[in-house]
Symmetry: C2
Subunit: 212 residues, 2 copies
């Protein structure tokens, strides 16, 4: 159902590439400040083609984010739920996040959701719901991981699972913001490393094992 030659004039763009290029514009400029002309230029598609292919501006944004999420979800989920060590799992999780925030050419683009639609979220209920859903997803993932760790005895059994998960989510939010504010990659890595270490310490991870 993919390499069907179809009937009419063949399209000259690759939908996947186009959505990636569109997302790049949104990440650089923010949602409102990105115009259809910007998207048109970045994707090498005329505006009518954009509409025909993806819909209006918000639909373009949503489809671009969905593609990005699906592409980057795999490694994050792997780090969280298939890496046996909680510490390594969290380190890899945030490492993947930092990679994504710096994707391509080193210019820090930040999170395509948290950093891009945060400004519009309070005024536009649809955008607000999108932001809330993204926050909720991360919370849920991290809570599940910490609950598993508590049950498996990796952390103190009476640890505050929700509180710990919220702290890890806070790290994610902070990384997104700092990337947006121009922080360099090593700085973010150091922050993530220290943050995870302190959260694990507060969680009673691995007894007293801490090298610092």
């Amino acid at each position: 159902m993919k390499s069907k030659p179809a009937r009419g004039r063949p399209r000259e763009y690759d939908p996947e590439e186009a959505l990636a290029a569109a997302l790049g514009e949104f990440r650089r400029r923010g949602y409102t400040a990105t115009s259809l002309d910007h998207l048109s230029e970045a994707t090498n598609m005329a505006r009518p083609s954009l509409y025909a292919a993806f819909g209006n501006k918000f639909e373009i944004y949503r489809k671009a984010v969905r593609q990005y999420s699906e592409q980057s979800a795999e490694q994050r989920l792997h780090a969280l739920f298939e890496e046996p060590s909680l510490q390594k799992g969290l380190e890899d999780y945030f490492s993947a996040i930092i990679d994504a925030y710096f994707s391509r050419e080193g210019s820090p683009l930040g999170c395509p959701v948290l950093s891009v639609i945060s400004g519009e979220a309070a005024a536009d209920p649809v955008i607000g719901a999108e932001l809330a859903a993204a926050v909720e997803r991360s919370d849920s993932l991290l809570q599940r991981r910490m609950a598993i760790a508590a049950e498996a005895g990796e952390i103190s059994p009476d640890a505050d699972v929700r509180g710990l998960a919220a702290m890890l989510a806070a790290l994610q939010h902070s990384l997104a913001l700092r990337a947006r504010a121009g922080a360099r990659r090593p700085e973010l890595s150091a922050i993530a490393h220290a943050h995870v270490a302190l959260v694990l310490k507060a969680a009673g991870y691995g007894g007293v094992t801490m090298h610092g």
Copy 2:
């Protein structure tokens, strides 16, 4: 130098009120999505009056933020540096922040800096610098407070001061984002409370004193 009647036609607006109203618009809509017409309506000032009084759009934003910062800085600094207990100081600090994020009418407006210009920060260097400066200010304050605590023996003397401060900053960033995503006030208060408690635990605050 204030109640000078001046010479020409008396102005019909109060600059302080006008800036507060303008900031409200920016917080609701985000920076780019707020037009001069929105500001004009919210302030009851004609656009030319806005220009004459405050300058262009970005200048209006900056002056509004500056006024907000100056008004809310006092209580935060008091909580951080004049409250003897580190725990109570931090609780009050974040309590004040949550108050500010929900200021007026209960609609969660979020942080006028972090949540409003985050989208545009990567594209506009001036806005980017504004965001970076705001992040830097919080980092600096929290680092100073934790350094004092370490020196005074309130927390473990070999505690990772920078790491702990970064975790507290992350809480601030997370609160801003969650407010923007529609979280309710009690939820934010609970998150802040748990986060501070866990940070203090990781810092070795007060030996082993923890009620949970």
